[in-house]
């Protein structure tokens, strides 16, 4: 699916494929008969109301959950993930470098110089230089979110899944954040972005509107026509 010139040419090389996937928890059906494919270089926004099954879908895509029915095929070699609800221990004595290093594919007991240089490069790019040896617990919520983003993307994954990543970011950094994600996408990473934040960044992107089942899957412009330009869906 090519929504505009803003989207890079999709190669039709599937990275994740869902076929008639249903997820049920005891008597509750969280996702019903979901089918779609994410191809290399796609940039997909997943939107939907609370309780629509977005988090369940993310857990499927990240391999943390298996479908109750249907098939899920993950062809991508590696997936990076920035969770919405961070499950970390806020007062755990871990440094920024250690947190980011946990996102590396290959880790050793002692960090290599080249690994530290890469971490420093990203810290500078995210406008939080010189915090590598600082305890995570001493950073602000927004700064921590930037560190978690670096952890998710530093290993150059095929797919990057971002679950409400801008919620803890201040508005001034939000624009810059979208620019960085665009840059990563342009470098060949497939982006899956879950958001409540319906804004101009969605324009000319693919949108999947979820409400337990897929209500819409197409270009944002078509979606906008369908909902009549409402910003709150």
């Amino acid at each position: 699916m090519n929504c505009s010139n803003k989207t890079l040419k999709t190669s039709k090389q599937p990275l994740i494929s869902l076929n008639n996937v249903t997820v049920s928890f005891e008597n509750l059906t969280a996702l019903k008969d979901i089918s779609f494919t994410i191809n290399k270089n796609d940039y997909l926004y997943i939107i939907g109301p609370n309780g629509a099954g977005k988090s369940t879908l993310i857990r499927l895509l990240t391999g943390l959950l298996k479908p109750s029915e249907g098939t899920l095929e993950i062809i991508a070699n590696s997936i990076g993930y920035l969770p919405q609800v961070l499950n970390h221990k806020p007062n755990f004595p871990i440094t920024v470098n250690e947190v980011i290093y946990s996102g590396f594919k290959k880790q050793s007991l002692i960090m290599k110089k080249s690994d530290l240089e890469l971490i420093n490069f990203w810290l500078e790019k995210m406008k939080i230089p010189n915090v590598g040896n600082t305890l995570m617990s001493t950073l602000s919520g927004g700064q921590q979110q930037r560190v978690f983003l670096i952890r998710a993307l530093i290993a150059n994954h095929d797919v990057l899944i971002l679950d409400e990543p801008t919620s803890a970011l201040d508005p001034s950094f939000r624009k810059f954040f979208y620019e960085i994600i665009n840059e990563i996408h342009e470098n060949g990473t497939t982006i899956i972005f879950i958001t409540h934040d319906i804004n101009e960044s969605l324009s000319k992107r693919q949108v999947l509107y979820l409400d337990q089942k897929i209500e819409f899957f197409g270009c944002y412009e078509d979606f906008e026509k369908l909902v009549g330009g409402h910003k709150h869906v």
Partner: protein
Amino acid sequence: MFSIFVDFFSQGFMVYALIIGLALGLGAALLSPFLVLNNKSMIADGLSHVAFTGMIFGLLVFPNQPIYLALPIAIVASIAITYISKIKMIESDAAIGVVSAFTLAVGLITVSVADGGFNQSIESLLTGAILSTSTLDVILAIVAFVIVVIFVLLFYRNLISSSYDPLFAKFSKVKHNLLNYLLSALVATFIVVGVRTIGMLLISSFIIFPSLIAAQVSNSFKQNIFIGFITAFIVITTGMFVSFELDLPTGSTIVVIYAIFLLLAILYRKFLRRS
């Protein structure tokens, strides 16, 4: 002063005691941050009760080497506690409380009904008898220490990731549950090896104190491990010499020195570090 060292090292049993104390104490110090900083300190306490009962059963079946039975019992109990906590059937602290109280009760009932008594005093299992250690105890303590060092070196990154952010660790294919089971089983091994020499009532302090003291003065996880390790070395060595010189119970002396170090560390954090 020098004569104290000469006297100390001229006593073979004291050298044994020092080796076993250091092997247990330093190994426990390496495990300490992975438990204390994960709010799992009580696992060590709970398992010490299990180890007590394991030793009681062990004394009945293998009077000379009760550890042969005590070790598998404690490892099975550690896996059971971890499993119950994992499936959230009961909150982890309650699970530890239930398992430890039950096993201790079974142990005490066994003591009261056992025919013929034991070849080891029950008091020595409670408070330890570090000065009456056997060669096997020393070998076991050293083996346990080596296993812990290998475990921490091999899984250091995974352990940190799993401790700090379990969800991300699971996503990153870190064997979070397996690591938890291995960690609990290692703690159980340490407790069983140490319960005869340090005592059921004191052995868990070897695991709890080092990281707790280090947390007051450290600025990172690595520092916590390093400071805890050095603290354990100083405290255990000092405790051995003080108990030898003043004729005090060794395990208790070590624990009192640990407590003094913790108090000093808290005072340092409260007054000096803040300024």
